[in-house]
Amino acid sequence: MNAIEIRNLSKSFRGMYAVDHLNMTVPQGAIYGFIGENGSGKSTTEKLICGHLVPDSGEIELFGRDYTDPGVRVRVGALIENAGCFPGSSVYQNLMMQCINLGIENADEEIRRVLEIVRMEDNANLKFKSCSLGMKQRIGIAMALLGDPALLILDEPINGLDTDGMRIMREILVDITKKYGCTVLISSHILGELEKIATHYGIIRQGKMITELSAEEMDCRAQVFTSLKTADMNGAFSALSKEYADVRCENGYIRIYDVDDTAAIVDYLMKNGHVVSEISRNKIGLEEYYIELMSKKEVE
């Protein structure tokens, strides 16, 4: 069963499509990295799933049920744009309100549990307004985690965080999925961070889904290449072009694609009278793939 199944979803504001006939499939149990530039429609899609916005057309199903079914919606936790807490109330009071809202019986225990997950067990009595940005984001995640959600929707949870904050957030997200097994839809600009946790990706541009792929598919697509420098770059390039199929001169380096046997390359160049001064094995990751995909679309 898919956790989220979106078919032909559209939403416009003043005649402009923010989400344009979008199709999306998030398998149950996945950590789905939702990627796109600013204004591409990520947050709008998430708000549509959460029922904050009314779609112009299309269908949204959560765990095989219509998204307006109260039974499924009560099992959705969301952090969209901000934590959505009352600034004058304490962290505990904000969490308590959500516990009451969800009808959680052992509220104190549940609050302690989620505060432990987000590493804020000592800050329950702090006023929300006096928390740092990183803490506020973590409280937002704690709010979303209350009541054992089946689906977590997190909109840019690591934006604006410092390195340490990002690390803590990543650990929290990995913990959540490992221990509680809920499906996570997470949008972020920080692709390097996303790559470390996501099992699936969806890339959106101008409200349209460009591609969806799993981490395994991403790995298959990820090209490996060897990057090197020699004293005679032109000579080495000619020699390598005769031996290898895909040789390119990029950013001041010679790059040999789909080859990662550096020893063989060094050996071959030595035989042809070239001394290698610098060599490294590389892989095109999510970030490079995304940039490439975006530039292709721009050309189209």
């Binding site: 398998p27 029922g51 079914d69 009560v74 009352f86 809202n101």
Partner: protein
């Protein structure tokens, strides 16, 4: 690696949903200063109004008393849709003006803080939100009516106003106005749903409707044309004014009917609007 589990989805009953939503709203009401501030305002204003007019000036003269009877601070002596003097207006009906402002702030904070996102994410039925806000705000306004009664009575007794009254009519007036809180709270909730993106406009609109200016205007025209004014009782302001110190049980029945009818109407309309429009 995908980590999935079996999930059971149970649709919460209406009672469970509304219990959760009401629980949140009552928790907020009792754990934030807003409610207590407005309770205090509702108590202090009638006490001040009654006492201030009786304060002697440097020559020892006092102003013309605003009221002649303690219970006039609570309700007017007859159904006065058009105001003849400030005393006709300055009674428990004023709670519906302060109450409107309180409701606007209460609901406005839901949107300002973004907490409403949590509510709408987990509550697919918009009716839950509308109904819960209306009921909790009605409760808050009813409490304000009680503190107004206490403040007004204490103030009136302190300045030695007369206490003669028809107890039956007084009870009708008090209970009638308390019951009207349901209708007024639903109106204010509805207005705040419409103007949810404009906090200032929602406060202004609540204040405008709370003053009853529209009905007072209509009443002035009706009275000028020497037409019967009884039909004005179908409106919230009219029914609120109709519960006064000369009312009978019929006024209480009118209050119940009008308050519930408008509450149902505004809740229905508010739910429709929320269901068909973007909520945040």
């Amino acid at each position: 690696m995908i980590n999935s589990r079996d999930i059971i989805f149970e649709s919460p009953t209406f009672a469970r949903r509304i219990k959760g939503m009401l629980g949140v709203d009552f928790y907020r009401l009792f754990h934030t200063p807003l409610f207590y501030i407005f309770l205090a305002i509702a108590a202090i204003i009638p006490a001040m109004v009654s006492a201030m007019t009786m304060m002697p000036d440097p020559n020892g003269n006092t102003m013309e008393p605003l009221y002649s009877n303690v219970w006039q601070i609570i309700a007017s002596t007859k159904s006065l849709y058009v105001i003849e003097g400030i005393a006709d207006y300055a009674n428990m009906n004023m709670v519906f003006i302060f109450g409107g402002i309180m409701v606007s702030i209460f609901i406005g904070h839901d949107y300002k803080s973004g907490y409403v996102k949590q509510l709408f994410t987990t509550h697919a039925k918009k009716q839950d939100y509308m109904l819960s806000k209306s009921l909790v705000c009605a409760f808050a306004m009813a409490c304000m009516c009680i503190t107004y009664l206490i403040g007004g009575t204490v103030g009136g007794l302190l300045v030695n106003y007369d206490t003669n009254v028809n107890i039956g009519s007084l009870l009708v007036a008090i209970f009638g106005k308390i019951i009207m809180s349901v209708g007024w709270a639903s109106l204010y909730t509805f207005l705040n749903i419409i103007f949810r993106k404009y906090f200032g406009v929602s406060i202004a609109s609540s204040f405008f409707f709370g003053t009853g200016i529209l009905i007072i205007g209509v009443a002035a025209i009706v009275e000028n044309l020497s037409l019967p004014t009884a039909f004005l009782n179908i409106f919230l302001y009219g029914a609120s004014v109709n519960a006064n110190l000369s009312s009978g049980i019929d006024a209480l029945i009118i209050c119940i009917t009008v308050s519930v009818a408008w509450a149902v109407f505004y809740n229905y309309l508010g739910t429709k609007i929320l269901s068909r429009s973007d909520v945040y």
